[in-house]
């Protein structure tokens, strides 16, 4: 106990001597943990909401018979209901109704209320007393979320678009958030089939298996009678399908937050190392006075653990606040636009606190243990003698380990994804980074050794100081290299993505105007007459109509987009083709890169596209194109082949070339007047779309930039800490130099020069390392996360500016750190004997 008290005293005195210096690692760790925990909490509440919604929809169903959005014939329902062992079968028509007043479609679930009561009692419980109303041919119940999003009350009318026609539905009542947390409309199945022109069609059958029946046998029996394109599965699959769409994006964010935590723990390592250097005579004294090596090591590690726990606890508190804010302001949409939490409720479990505090304690403990091990191992007599600071940590870094780590990183980078995630890619980034930092002392040492000795005494001293104090210098360098190389890698990756994205936009937007009717899976379409009318609007030189719709492929997690585009025979669509097959006869299809990864389709391969209702279209893959619009896959086929196969002549997308001199706004106005489809009709000029797309691209990466900026800020803190503590430890030296006749400004110049040199060499190493990391990010992590390729493009100007800012900041940090140490008291410092 007395030892603990003594340590407490020493530790407190350190805080009194340098509160800012001591607080920095706490703040840095807190920042990292705050970000990591906020991302984690928001993700979880959004996912929890998804899960709750999915459970409410599937209710007590044991099995779900799922067709594509086109649905299948309802007579399968009658057959399945008769399968022995089926207790209840409930037919469902699920659709995305395009509303006249809004762009986003409304998720509508149409059920047979009496059967559904036995499968989804929680969902229907609240409206059980009003089931008669549900049977009205134009009645719809809305969930609380849907009602407030649409701004309607019970009794109000809702206009939906079916094809190009408007239908009116009456809102019969409102479900509470407890029954369903997201936006949903519930209708009677017969009413919906009639209102949405889907007579005789259902998309799903929920099945409850009788208690005494064998579910496996029931499932097999049902599976045998299903038409192609219709599957049967346990309802959990649905949750996974919802969550997997944004999984890569979420993992990406979590990794970035972890980078912030790691950079924070690196700062713990840096401060702790420097503080041990500063205290080495105190520590040597304690050893001389009888403290064992092990006890010293444990106590020093405990210091880090305490710092880590404080930082993590503060960070988690900040993370909760940040998560609340994110849910409130951006509704939990972390930039991907898909994973949105609507209820805005945040569930924080005590276990989360424990996990994050333990995480903080662990990383900080490790960060403190590394230097503590060396400090405790140092011979006491050596440490009691002044002047061994420079060599203290130099011996521990074998360049072989660094080289081995880099080799391992390269190996990890070429491994395929794990569970569809680039986990090996992330590991490769971490390993390469660690290996790179490991090589820092050796690389910097040999660089400094080769650096020509300046003629003038002040720069010569600065160089000698960096050469001699390799341990301290390495910390400054490593701080810069860790944070800046990540920033460089990220900047190159985002820039490459942006350039490729712009290129892709140019190619996919060849015309002047773009038109869409609702969402591609919505109920609104343009019939031939409407297409004709649009093409004849004054000012339109040329029109091209497309049909895009979801395509449910067996074995796919999320649905694929099928786009039927007018393509002349022998022609090629306007796409960024990355691979193509030699010309073949038959129907040609172009597939996005994701199709290759998800379904293993290859150019030249013959595949059959299930177009719903048992119709298939045999196509040959003619080429692979880049599609930044969808990472779940898309297929483009000639529209003539699509019409021939399905008889569907409707369209829901169009592009228009305008006549020279035609006024876009007037044309748009005329188109709107012709169709009367309300807000569901979206017409935008190409430049508007380009602008919007780039804006949302930048927004999606805003959080990335924020996280990176924080990492660099933490890195600069590291430089400042290293400079300040170096300068403090060198007060005696400065005092002597002042005696010997060095001007105050010469000492300041010397410090700035050291900072400058640290910045230049650090930034140089970081640019090399960051360039290597960006290759992994571009070709491995990005490719495996989003299933699309991007071309490497280096933002030279941006990197140049960043480097200049960093070098200046490093010099400034060294200056501010040093300035205090050259103040008046420095004269007396010659008498301080450590």
């Amino acid at each position: 106990m007395p030892r603990l008290r003594l340590w407490w005293q020493l530790w407190c005195s350190q805080w009194r001597a340098g509160p800012v210096r001591m607080a920095m690692p706490v703040v840095a760790l807190a920042l990292g943990v705050a970000l990591a925990s906020a991302v984690q909490l928001v993700n979880r509440s959004a996912l929890a909401e998804f899960g709750q919604a999915a459970r409410a929809l599937s209710g007590d169903a044991d099995l779900v018979v799922q067709g594509s959005a086109d649905g299948f014939d309802e007579r399968f329902f009658a057959a399945i209901a008769r399968v022995p062992g089926v207790a209840v079968a409930s037919p469902v028509l699920e659709l995305r109704a395009t509303l006249a007043s809004r762009r986003e479609p409304l998720h509508v679930v149409a059920l047979d209320p009496f059967r559904a009561m036995q499968v989804q009692p929680a969902l229907l419980g609240e409206i059980a007393g009003r089931l008669r109303g549900l049977l009205a041919p134009d009645g719809i119940f809305l969930s609380g979320q849907a009602a407030s999003a649409l701004g309607v009350e019970t009794g109000a009318h809702l206009e939906v678009l079916v094809g190009s026609a408007r239908r009116r539905l009456e809102m019969l009542g409102r479900l509470s958030g407890a029954a369903y947390p997201r936006a949903l409309g519930i209708m009677d199945i017969a009413a919906a089939q009639w209102q949405f022109d889907r007579l005789g069609v259902i998309t799903r059958i929920d099945v409850r298996v009788a208690r005494e029946a064998n579910p496996v046998a029931v499932r097999a029996a049902i599976a045998r009678m299903l038409p192609p394109g219709v599957t049967i599965a346990a309802p959990e699959v649905d949750d996974a399908r919802l969550a997997s769409a944004t999984r890569a994006y979420r993992v990406n964010l979590a990794m970035l937050a972890l980078v912030a935590v790691l950079t924070g723990s690196f700062l713990v390592l840096a401060t702790q190392t420097l503080s041990l250097l500063r205290r080495r005579s105190t520590l040597a004294l304690l050893r001389a006075l009888g403290m064992t090596r092990g006890a010293l090591r444990r106590t020093l590690t405990a210091e880090g653990v305490v710092v880590g726990m404080i930082g993590a606890a503060l960070g988690f508190a900040g993370g909760i606040a940040l998560a609340r804010w994110m849910l409130h302001v951006v509704a939990g949409d972390l930039g991907a636009g898909q994973l949105v939490s609507l209820s805005g409720s945040l569930a924080v479990r005590p276990a989360d606190w424990a996990i994050f505090v333990l995480l903080g304690a662990l990383v900080a403990g490790i960060a403190a243990w590394l230097p503590a091990r060396e400090a405790a191992a140092r011979p006491v007599a050596q440490a009691l003698k002044a002047g061994d600071a420079g060599t203290a940590f130099a011996h521990a870094r074998s360049p072989w380990i660094g080289g081995a780590l880099i080799g391992l990183g390269v190996l990890l980078a070429v491994l395929p994804p794990l569970h569809g995630l680039p986990l090996f890619g992330y590991a490769a980034v971490a390993t390469l980074l660690t290996g790179g930092v490991w090589l820092v002392p050796a690389a910097v040492g040999s660089l400094l050794a080769r650096w020509p000795r300046p003629r003038r005494p002040v720069p010569a001293l600065a160089l000698a100081q960096l050469r001699g104090n390799s341990a301290r210098a390495a910390i400054g360098f490593a701080a810069i290299i860790v944070s800046f190389s990540l920033m460089v890698a990220m900047a190159i990756m985002v820039h490459s993505f942006r350039e490729s994205f712009i290129d892709w936009l140019e190619r996919t937007l060849p015309a002047d105007l773009q038109l869409r009717v609702g969402a591609s899976d919505g109920t609104a379409t343009l019939e031939s007459a409407a297409q004709e009318a649009l093409a004849q609007v004054a000012g339109v030189a040329r029109a091209q109509f497309r049909r895009s719709r979801p395509l449910a492929l067996p074995g796919g997690a999320a649905s694929v987009q099928l786009i039927a585009v007018p393509i002349e025979s022998g022609g090629v669509p306007d796409l960024t083709i990355v691979r193509s097959a030699p010309a073949t006869a038959g129907v040609r299809a172009w597939i996005s890169e994701a199709m290759v990864d998800l379904y293993r389709w290859q150019p030249g391969e013959h595949v059959t596209l299930p177009l719903g209702r048992g119709r298939g279209l045999a196509v040959t893959v003619a080429g692979v194109f880049r599609d930044y619009g969808r990472s779940t896959g898309s297929v483009i086929i000639p529209r003539s082949n699509y019409v021939a196969a399905t008889g569907d002549t409707t369209a829901n997308e169009a592009i228009f070339w305008l006549e020279r001199g035609a006024h876009a706004a007037t044309v748009v106005e005329a188109m709107r007047a012709r169709l009367g489809l309300g807000a569901a009709l979206q017409i935008r000029t190409t430049s508007e779309i380009r602008e919007r797309s780039l804006r949302s691209f930048d927004r999606a990466f805003a959080i990335t930039y924020a996280l990176e900026a924080i990492a660099v800020f933490i890195g600069l803190l590291g430089v400042g800490v290293a400079a300040a503590s170096t300068a403090l430890a060198r007060r005696g030296e400065f005092g002597m130099l002042r005696h010997v006749g060095m001007l105050r400004r010469q000492i300041v110049t010397m410090l700035a020069g050291e900072g400058l040199l640290t910045g230049v060499i650090g930034a140089g190493c970081a640019l090399v390392l960051g360039g290597a990391l960006s290759i992994v990010l571009v070709y491995v992590v990005n490719r495996q996360s989003f299933l699309w390729s991007i071309d490497l493009a280096v933002p030279w100007a941006q990197l140049g500016l960043l480097t200049a800012v960093l070098v200046a900041a490093a010099a400034a940090a060294a200056l501010t750190g040093g300035r205090a140490a050259v103040g008046g008291g420095v004269i007396r410092a010659v008498r301080e004997d450590w």
Partner: protein, 230 residues
């Protein structure tokens, strides 16, 4: 490099007084002192009496409250910080109790420091450093680093550094405080020898009578002033 051979007193102190806080009595007052070429003086006195303070004043590192200090023909008390620094650079040498040899420079580089600051050409500087190292019996140690040296050797490096630019005034504040008796004797003998050889004035501050006796003259500092050793 400025060098006056015409001036007979190298260091002259008149009526010097220093007070750190207004509510306390002055550390000392009425200090008079004059040193000529080759004169080597030891100052003793109780701890806290102001010996180090006196050296700081002479070096222009601290401001006096009253009195005058002349180094050669220059009035130190009238100089601003930069001018005082240049004066130290050209005409003074220091030896500290704690050595203050830079750990990341070699012995020779440490000794060359004052010459570097003065802009002495490298060739000449190297020759003078070599000569100085020979003088302090470290001729073969120029390439070694301070961590490989003993305390006595380190202090000899410091003496070489203090004298390499042939200062007019050498100030040594308890240079043997950290050394054993044998090393101390060696260092003191060297200091004395080199001050005489360089023809400057030297002040040695020490607590040890034996050390003080190596100087030409011994004075005791009290609050009233400098007095010959009783």
């Amino acid at each position: 490099m400025v060098r006056e051979t015409s001036c007979r007193t190298l260091l002259e102190v008149r009526g010097l007084a220093k007070r750190f806080r207004a509510d306390r009595p002055p550390v000392f007052s009425g200090i008079d002192l004059a040193l000529g070429p080759g004169e080597y003086l030891a100052i003793m006195g109780e701890s806290g009496v102001g010996k180090s303070t006196l050296l700081n004043l002479i070096a222009g590192l601290d401001r006096a409250d009253a009195g005058a200090i002349r180094v050669g023909d220059i009035e130190v008390t009238a100089l601003d910080d930069d001018a005082a620094t240049l004066l130290r650079r050209q005409r003074m040498g220091f030896v500290f109790q704690a050595f203050h040899v830079l750990p990341y420079l070699t012995v020779a580089q440490n000794v060359a420091l004052p010459l570097e600051l003065l802009g002495v050409p490298r060739k000449e500087s190297a020759a003078r450093v070599a000569a100085m190292l020979t003088a302090v019996q470290l001729a073969s140690d120029g390439g070694r680093y301070p961590r490989e040296l003993s305390g006595g050797e380190l202090q000899r490096v410091a003496i070489a550094r203090a004298l390499v630019h042939r200062p007019q005034v050498v100030l040594a504040d308890e240079p043997t405080g950290n050394l054993d008796a044998r090393s101390a004797a060696q260092v003191l003998a060297l200091l004395r020898e080199q001050v005489h050889a360089a023809g400057g004035a030297g002040i040695l501050i020490t607590h040890s009578l034996a050390a003080a006796r190596t100087a030409d003259r011994v004075l005791t500092l009290t609050a009233q002033g400098l007095e010959p050793l009783a």
